[in-house]
């Protein structure tokens, strides 16, 4: 892979995955290029299914987007290359497309309007859509999340932004009791098509309270779906899928990933919320990860490949529910699992994932599942200490070596 890529190798260049012919089966050229374009739901293995949507452009469709230089030869970019942008711009693009498409979509959060969003995800949207649709709220997470949920009950599709995911702890009652449960307790009468998003994770010396990972707290709320994006491509796709979903979705972004650059397709695409992403197929060990740890893993993979290992890396993306199909197939192939995550060890995503794999795929395991998580400490301010709270590539390499003995 071209070493000049700003992001680590996101998707492998394995030809099987991205054979352009595969996804055109069943769709004639005429159906692709018609007066009405089509929108495709993308699977990580290249399968697509589509239905017609007037908004999108026609043309060839790419299942994976790799940030390529002009001279990089990958068979994936057989067609039009797309456009390059940063992750926060990809989020904004997804958001803007959905707001154009459906007048019920609105945004609310602190400083999302006039200020443009603290991470610029909503920049320019308030001027375009007005102050009611891109609402600047006061610092009142509990009640503006509640307001979003109440609006969702009537049929609006609000996107509530927590300036930092950690602030949403103030809205925990609303998210857990109202957002997650109203569909059930009302016997199916009310749907809550809300998206709750925001940056979380350990940043650069932001201090303990601004380095929260909330996936572990929200994961047992019934009725909620959780996804974590990690690349501009999946950020845009997941944002669009989350907005279109009738269920409440919590979209976890990461503070340090907002400036990732990638080339994404021009065509409209939506990703599947419940699906995991195959980052790098392999044979020896399955490494399950999400969000920022994906990059630490891929960095470790470089070392591991040099040492002769062939790890399979899966970005699980969907934190609730887990994509046990993809994960299961991988476990059946490699028989060894390493989970690398950024949330705390205790009660984290890794522990649930471990339990799920043991419950379902025990017979396929050759070794105990290893789980590398952040330490159970408040994130310290000092840089060196902070570095050691999260999992580093060296630890991943050591863990794989231990696992593959």
């Amino acid at each position: 892979m071209a070493a000049a890529l700003q992001t680590a190798a996101l998707l492998s260049a394995s030809p099987n995955l991205i054979d352009p012919q595969r996804y055109r089966v069943g769709l004639s050229a005429r159906s692709l290029i018609g007066r009405r374009g089509s929108i495709f739901v993308v699977r990580s293995d290249g399968r697509t299914s589509g239905f017609f949507n007037a908004k999108s452009r026609s043309g060839n469709f790419i299942t994976n987007a790799v940030a390529t230089k002009a001279d990089a030869s990958t068979s994936s970019t057989a067609s039009k290359p797309g456009h390059e942008l940063l992750l926060f711009e990809a989020l904004r693009e997804g958001l803007e497309e959905e707001m154009d498409r459906d007048p019920h979509v609105c945004v609310m959060g602190e400083d999302v309007g006039h200020y443009g969003g603290s991470y610029k995800v909503t920049k320019g949207l308030a001027t375009k859509y007005g102050d009611l649709r891109v609402l600047d709220t006061p610092i009142a997470e509990n009640s503006f999340t509640g307001m979003g949920i109440g609006a969702a009950m009537t049929g609006l599709r609000p996107i509530v932004e927590g300036m930092n995911m950690g602030f949403l702890l103030l809205a925990f009652n609303q998210i857990s009791n109202n957002c997650g449960m109203l569909h059930y307790t009302s016997g199916g009468q009310f749907k809550i098509p809300i998206v709750i998003r925001g940056p979380g994770g350990v940043g650069r010396q932001l201090g303990a309270e601004h380095s929260q990972r909330l996936e572990s707290y929200f994961q047992s709320i019934p009725g909620l779906q959780m996804v974590a994006c990690s690349t501009p491509y999946n950020a845009k796709g997941l944002m669009k899928a989350a907005i279109r979903s009738e269920n409440p979705v919590v979209l976890f972004e990461h503070v340090l990933l907002y400036n990732l650059k990638e080339r994404i397709p021009d065509e409209e695409y939506v990703l599947c919320l419940e699906e995991a992403e195959m980052v790098r197929p392999g044979e020896h060990v399955t490494i399950l990860t999400y969000s920022r740890m994906r990059y630490h893993v891929m960095q470790a993979v470089k070392t591991l490949v040099n040492k002769g290992y062939d790890p399979e890396v899966i970005d699980i993306r969907s934190l609730k529910p887990f994509d046990l199909y993809t994960i299961g197939n991988s476990v059946k192939k490699t028989h060894r699992v390493l989970i690398v995550e950024e949330c705390m060890r205790t009660g984290g995503i890794g522990s649930s994932l471990r339990a799920a794999i043991i419950d379902n795929f025990w017979d396929y395991l050759d070794a105990p599942i290893m789980c590398l998580s952040s330490q159970d400490v408040p994130t310290p301010y000092a840089g060196t200490l902070e570095e050691w709270t999260v999992v580093q590539p060296a630890q991943i390499v050591a863990a794989v070596e231990q696992l593959c003995q």
């Binding site: 009142a140 009537t154 009468q189």
Partner: protein, 396 residues
């Protein structure tokens, strides 16, 4: 607008009534119940305003409306008493918060608004559900956890909802429904449909921070939200003066105007709600404090006598009971005779007993219902469980 209070002489009215004897209650109802002439009746207590000129004490109503008030409140009262017996018979479990004594708030509010206006309240929601058009069967079935309940038996006493009547529940965590109500008002403003939302809460929940947060936002955005404090003077076992430094709940909005209303007088409630709706559509949020009282304890597990005296309860029942007040009104304006009202009550009692019997026959939810309605059928991508055999959702 003020119209002559009395109709023609009493005797002519009684002539209308006399041929329609007790036996044919229906025909009686059709004569006075169709009577649409306007009566103007003064509320017994004036309104008190905070930062706003209170509305007039003279309320316009019709005999038909007054009779419907009587009937609706009688149904609610009967329902709550029946729920009391069902709870003691262990057919209703868990928490059961009864509304008897407060019926005037639910009935008066309904008289002022349409089904497109939203109502949201916390767990003392059975009567509000009836007011929104819910049936007795749905209510009892939900209380007993049966399939035909308004939330399919999965919500329970504290989670009554009726989407088609814009009734947003039914919430267990008090105070949390206020931001939800402001959210509904936000959506109403967003879609510009000229409706308002009433977010009800009690004197206990009036101390929740999210109320003030939501009020601030509602005022900033001029949302058509009306916050109604049903002040029954006790937050479970804590009297209002022990929980709130300032129990003048209608004033606690500070920059938001408020109105204090006699919540045991259904006509006062109706007037206040009409006034509030008009205000909210034009100007933004307003707070209504309904001075009301609950006869039962906080819930069925609370006797209601450890923190207040029986004399107090019976005193309120004698002097301020909402149904008695309407009865006196009907009798003094000769809209019906005492025996006719008794017959209405008998009929109501039978209706409630029938509904209870029917609800007892209802089946419990199917075990598969445990897993239904957790998620709405997904966005539409094909997703499966781990063995690819069970389809979870399919692309449209």
């Amino acid at each position: 607008m003020a119209v002559l209070a009395r109709s023609s002489s009493p005797s002519s009215l009684s002539k209308l009534l006399r041929p329609h004897s007790v036996s044919s209650l229906r025909s009686f109802s059709s004569s006075a119940a169709d009577d649409q002439r306007v009566l103007t009746i003064e509320t017994s207590v004036p309104f008190t305003g905070h930062r706003i000129e209170p509305p007039s004490r003279a309320v316009d109503t019709t005999p038909a409306e007054i009779l419907s008030f009587f009937r609706d409140m009688a149904v609610m009262r009967r329902m709550e008493i029946a729920a009391d017996s069902l709870y003691k018979a262990k057919l209703i479990r868990g928490f059961c918060h009864l509304y008897d004594g407060q019926e005037a708030v639910a009935v008066g509010m309904e008289a002022a608004i349409t089904k497109r206006d939203g109502i949201i309240t916390s767990y003392r929601d059975h009567c509000t559900f009836l007011g929104r058009g819910g049936t007795l069967l749905q209510a009892f079935a939900e209380l007993m956890g049966r399939r035909d309940g308004c939330a399919k038996g999965k919500g329970g006493s504290m989670h009554f909802y009726r989407k088609e009547a814009s009734y947003y529940g039914g919430h267990g965590i008090v105070g949390a429904q206020i931001p939800l109500g402001c959210g509904v008002a936000f959506a109403q403003k967003y879609s510009k449909d000229g409706s308002v939302t009433f977010a009800l809460y009690g004197d206990g929940a009036a101390n929740q921070g999210q109320l003030f947060e939501a009020l601030n936002m509602a005022a900033l955005l001029d949302l058509p939200a009306i916050l109604v404090c049903e002040n029954n003077h006790y937050g479970m076992g804590t009297a209002e003066w022990r929980a709130a430094k300032s129990p003048a709940y209608y004033k606690r909005g500070d920059y938001v105007p408020g109105l204090k209303v006699d919540g045991m007088d259904v006509l006062a409630v109706k007037q206040a709600c009409i006034f509030a709706k008009e205000y909210a559509l034009a100007n933004g949020p307003i707070i209504l404090e309904m001075d009301t009282y609950r006869y039962h304890g906080h819930s069925m597990s609370d006797p209601g006598s450890t923190y207040r005296t029986r004399d107090e309860i019976s005193g309120v029942r004698q002097e301020r009971d909402p149904i008695e007040r309407v009865r006196k009104l009907i009798l003094s304006h000769e809209l019906a005779s005492a025996s006719e009202l008794k017959d209405i009550e008998k009929e109501v009692r039978k209706e409630v007993d029938d509904a209870v019997a029917q609800a007892k026959e209802c089946p419990v939810p199917d075990p598969s219902e445990l897993f239904s309605n957790v998620y709405v059928k997904g966005f539409g991508a094909e997703t499966f469980g781990p063995d690819r055999k069970e389809v979870r959702s399919v692309l449209p």
